[in-house]
């Protein structure tokens, strides 16, 4: 977002992660200055258009071009607040298949490969985007059902499965919410960090099952996603308390379990999630509190980060309220890596998993 970048006091703003930009758009608390910017932007562009996009084309791609349309298509789906990033990616690839003029499976695969590479390089910071592209490519190249069909039938099946993915994603969230119910018991206190649709779904279902529990929400600086979360929870009638991010250790003794979502689950079984997850997991681990990760299985990514800096850095502007003195560096990274030994269980649509299962699933799929 250009307006935000201008606000950022650091003289040379690093490239802003598109993934976190979308998240901020979908989940952040609408502040007064944001509204002002939005109004200004709306005057210049049709609603929904984003100034910072690499190619600011009109969003709904009614007939996307054969090659270049994938990113526009992706951006179109990405803007929908309910659609996960992975769904957008798969929808975009399904659109590539539909508009493809390939006549053999091989041609189609090459075309898809190009499109998915393009998509992945467009936003290297989004883990679920690359994981979803890989998953879909794997489905196209490997699926056993396609062998017995004619090309057209195979193509339409691929498109159909791709377009069903939105439903799969929603169903995955429902499954996770159901699986998690056993873990939430009456009278417990749950700490959540950031805004996660899956975690919200879990807590929503628990509340509608008349479970009595309390939620502590971290503030989730810098985009204050925790406030949005607490807002939604309070609307459901769940007792919520908001903490500043640095009050986690202070409050941990009253917490019974930690629930976090994940941007991506990596091969070690660790997770990559919003900045601050690692320290929460560390505090929880040292106080013997379970840390549960709610994540859909399509977020499993073939990455193996060895340390925090071992990923494509995803930057995000940080507003300190006051100008940062010149010559002072600002850590703008948006996410951190939580190693598997600090996680208790992963609640996924494949079932309740220990972190070591993740690599197993990935090996089954890709080897």
């Amino acid at each position: 977002m250009e307006p935000d970048a201008a606000q950022n006091p650091s003289p040379v703003p690093p490239p802003i992660s598109a993934y976190y930009q979308t998240r901020a758009e979908h989940h952040a608390v609408v502040s007064s200055d944001w509204l002002a910017h939005a109004a200004a932007a709306a005057a210049a562009f049709p609603p929904g258009a984003d100034a910072a996009d690499a190619a600011a084309l009109p969003p709904p791609p009614s007939s996307p071009g054969a090659g270049g349309g994938v990113i526009e298509e992706f951006n179109f789906w990405r803007r929908k607040p309910e659609a996960a990033e992975a769904v957008a990616a798969i929808m975009a690839l399904a659109a590539v298949i539909r508009s493809s003029r390939a006549t053999t499976m091989m041609e189609l695969e090459i075309e898809l490969k190009k499109a998915s590479d393009k998509l992945k390089s467009w936003d290297a910071t989004s883990i679920s985007l690359s994981a979803a592209c890989d998953l879909f490519m794997r489905f196209v190249t490997r699926t056993s059902h396609l062998e017995h069909e004619k090309f057209d039938a195979a193509k339409s099946r691929l498109i159909e499965r791709g377009e069903k993915f939105g439903e799969i994603s929603l169903k995955a969230r429902k499954t996770i919410a159901m699986l998690s119910q056993d873990f939430i018991y009456d009278g417990c206190t749950i700490l959540v960090h950031g805004y996660s649709r899956v975690v919200l779904e879990v807590l929503k279902l628990a509340a509608s099952n008349r479970k009595l529990f309390r939620v502590l929400c971290t503030e989730g600086r810098p985009d204050r996603t925790g406030l949005r979360m607490s807002n939604e929870l309070a609307a459901l009638g769940i007792p919520v308390k908001v903490l500043i991010d640095s009050a986690v250790a202070y409050s941990m003794d009253e917490v019974d379990m930690v629930f976090v979502g994940a941007d991506g689950v990596v091969e070690s079984g660790g997770i990559i999630n919003m900045m601050g997850t690692y320290q929460i997991a560390l505090v929880a681990y040292s106080m013997n509190k379970p840390v549960y990760v709610a994540a859909e299985s399509y977020k499993f990514a073939r990455l193996y980060p060895l340390d925090q800096k071992d990923m494509t850095p995803a930057h995000r502007p940080i507003d300190f309220g006051v100008p940062v003195p010149t010559g002072v560096e600002v850590e703008t990274s948006a996410r951190d890596y939580t190693p598997p030994q600090y996680l208790t269980l992963l609640l996924t649509d494949l079932g309740v998993l220990t972190p070591s299962v993740v690599s197993d699933e990935l090996i089954q799929l890709y080897l």
């Binding site: 993915f165 056993d182 399509y298």
Partner: protein, 416 residues
């Protein structure tokens, strides 16, 4: 099934009164009961025989689990049987459909559209059948082929020509299904009975010359394990913690001495004092949970902590019937049972303390006698099951092999 109902209620009563205890005995008797349930089950004329059979098993299983939810082996065996039924059903339908598609292919030349359809759906179905048994995985995330349309399509394309022969073949196929299921349950019972052998075969590889082994209480699996090592001419010493309040350790010590194993009995509270001399801790378990945690006789967590403190390997030996596909949500409370205080205290001696007339009427002396401990997976070094040695994080894999994912909750479907 009116004939098995007395058997079922008899067993339920036994479970409720805690007359059957120990996961081995419980597992065995559950399997036997379920075998008779299956054999007494009258195969109706309903379309889905396997589902009806599974429902019957589920109905009985629900009662048994409710009778003693602490004996996790009951649920394990019920789930195993349900899995067996599913497996046999899929293998029989896969064979059946292959047969059908062949007949259509041979006479289906007049209709080109129908020609490739059944062949395709047979292949799809076979692939799906393979998937149905497996737990959901990333691999199958995108490819969910609805099973019922595929079957109905096959049926409709073949229905007219094969209608009669199919109904004739139905009876024999259901009888075959039932027979196969009974045979498979028989195999399961054999497996439960002989689970000690494959476990104790691994003893020589784990117990080395002149080692010191520590164990707590009495477990038959541990006993057989140590016997097997002794028979292979290993000489080693065993410390047996007595396992208060039941003192089963005394029994084990006696049994070991009979076989010529050098044995030392210690009190439970001496575990920390002795652990520095120990090379390996080998214990039995009540149940192994899906995350690799262990439900074990009380006092085990302390032993595990002592072992961890001194970096002594903590090995759990258990047959596969103790593998439970559930996750321990609140194990200290939910998966425990409080026994009679008479194990701890003599009522006669302490009857004065039980005087209810003092103060506000509540007794001053309370006795709590829990049966089990939960040992978290990070304290366990190795599991020895009948399929070999596994690390705690691998247990989910074994569980995925033995149980199907949708049987985790044993509950009757709405229509029964």
């Amino acid at each position: 099934m009116p004939d098995v109902q007395p058997l079922v209620s008899d067993f339920v009563l036994k479970l409720k009164r805690r007359k059957v205890e120990g996961s081995h005995a419980v597992a065995r008797q559950t399997a036997e009961l379920l075998r008779s349930v299956v054999s007494q089950h009258r195969m109706g004329s309903s379309a889905n025989q396997a589902a009806a059979l599974a429902d019957a098993v589920r109905a009985v299983g629900e009662q048994l689990i409710a009778a003693n939810p602490i004996e996790l082996a009951v649920g394990n065996i019920v789930r195993r049987v349900l899995h067996i039924i599913k497996e046999e059903d899929i293998s029989s339908t896969a064979v059946g459909i292959e047969g059908l598609s062949v007949t259509v292919d041979s006479d289906g030349e007049y209709d080109s559209e129908h020609d490739d359809r059944p062949a395709l759906s047979a292949a799809v179905l076979a692939a799906h059948a393979r998937n149905a048994l497996r737990a959901p995985s990333l691999q199958t995330l995108l490819e969910d082929i609805p099973v019922s349309p595929a079957i109905s399509r096959t049926a409709s394309s073949t229905g007219d020509s094969d209608g009669k022969s199919k109904s004739a073949g139905d009876k024999s196929s259901t009888r075959k299904l039932k027979h196969d299921v009974i045979a498979a349950i028989g195999d399961l019972i054999d497996e439960i009975d002989s689970c000690y052998e494959p476990i104790s075969e691994q003893a020589v590889e784990l117990i080395h010359q002149n080692e010191v082994i520590l164990t707590l209480g009495r477990s038959r699996t541990v006993k057989e394990f140590l016997y097997a090592a002794k028979e292979k001419k290993r000489s080693f010493r065993v410390f047996v913690a007595e396992g208060a309040p039941r003192y089963q350790g005394h029994v084990l010590a006696k049994e070991l001495v009979e076989k010529g194993v050098q044995t030392t009995v210690i009190t439970d509270s001496a575990v920390f004092a002795m652990i520095s001399r120990v090379n390996m801790v080998i214990v039995g378990a009540h149940a192994i949970m899906a995350n690799g945690g262990v439900i074990a006789p009380v006092g085990m967590n302390m032993v595990a902590l002592a072992a961890q403190r001194h970096a002594v390997p903590f090995v759990v030996v258990a047959g596969s019937h103790k593998l439970c596909p559930l996750y321990p949500h609140n194990p200290e409370v939910l998966l425990n049972e409080l026994k009679s205080p008479s194990d701890l205290l003599d009522f006669g001696e302490f009857s004065d303390c039980m005087n209810f007339s003092t103060q506000d009427g509540s007794p001053l002396l309370n006795v709590v006698n829990p049966t089990f401990d939960y040992v978290p997976p990070k304290l366990v070094s190795l599991f020895i099951t009948d399929t070999g040695g596994h690390s705690p994080s691998y247990m989910y894999r074994l569980i995925a092999e033995y149980y199907s994912a949708d049987d985790l909750v044993v509950r009757r479907k709405a229509t029964s």
